[in-house]
């Protein structure tokens, strides 16, 4: 039996033994990873200049990057995107 097959058998047994425990533990990991992605607003505003710089320095303003930025749950983001699309790069910090 190879490693992946062995891993599968072990985890399926854990699920059979106590599905609620498996669900709770993976959910807890999922939640902790989510929490890591939530940046305090002060830190986010500090980071904005770097977001600008990375977009221009590395020429990464395309659909993929826009999606990534749009998914961030902060109020300034959409205005930021709109400003970029319109070629207006200045007023995002004042939006806060």
């Amino acid at each position: 039996m190879d490693k992946l097959e062995s891993m599968l058998n072990k985890v399926l047994k854990l699920i059979d033994d106590d599905p609620q425990a498996v669900f709770d533990e993976i959910s807890s990991i999922h939640d902790s990873f989510d929490a890591e992605d939530v940046i305090p607003i002060e830190e986010y505003l500090d980071r904005l200049p770097q977001v600008y710089e990375s977009i221009f320095a590395f020429d990464i303003l395309d659909d993929t990057e826009l999606v990534e930025i749009e998914e961030k749950p902060f109020f300034g983001e959409m205005k930021f995107i709109e400003n970029l699309k319109q070629g207006n790069f200045t007023p995002i910090l004042s939006a806060a």
Partner: protein, 188 residues
């Protein structure tokens, strides 16, 4: 079998060059594949983009000459058999749990949202995960950065010649390298 490879490790410049060169690589608590020590596979460009966006522009890139023990590697880039088995593992876990909670729709939704990093982290915590190293590729990058090239002039099919491949070494004591050096500092 040992595979020699180049790994680029991005880290904060906090502590200064001497400290970073001595202590690197640094643990990532919430990487794509869970907790571990991460390296871009021979890709300074992606290492720099990561540093610029995640370390407020204050970062270093170190280059490691990695010794990758193939027997300890889960290769989700080039080993088709492992990719198929791993996909089956993930699907089986989700499917079995979904069956157990078939009368609890909100739990089924939650299970659907789990990523492979979270499931790998669970397997590691239960001492079920039997690999020491994982190699994976992230496709969420612009085509320009991935080096998209057509196979033939009149065909729409294409290849990526600059894939965003990375290694995750789960523990530092399984990380073998023959050399490491600082190759880029964001402050010049």
């Amino acid at each position: 079998m040992i595979i020699k490879d180049i790994g680029h490790h991005t880290c904060s410049s906090k502590g200064g060059e001497k400290f970073v060169i001595r202590e690197a690589p640094f643990l990532s608590e919430h990487g794509f594949l869970g907790k571990g020590y991460y390296f871009w596979q021979n890709n300074l460009e992606f290492a720099k983009i990561w540093g610029h966006r995640h370390y407020n522009g204050k970062y270093y890139v170190l280059e490691f000459e990695l010794n990758v023990y193939y027997d300890e590697l889960l290769d989700l880039v080039g080993n088709r058999t492992q990719m198929m088995q791993f996909k089956n593992l993930i699907y089986s876990i989700k499917q079995k749990l979904a069956e157990k909670f078939k009368n609890t729709p909100e739990k089924k939704v939650a299970i659907d949202e789990w990523g492979i990093g979270e499931i790998i982290e669970y397997l590691k915590r239960k001492n079920i995960f039997e690999y020491k190293i994982i190699k994976a590729v992230d496709y969420r990058v612009s085509y320009r950065h991935l080096g998209k090239e057509s196979f033939l002039r009149n065909k729409k099919n294409f290849i990526f010649l600059n894939p965003r491949i990375f290694y995750c070494f789960i523990e530092k004591n399984n990380l073998y390298f023959s050399n490491k050096k600082l190759i880029y500092t964001s402050d010049g």
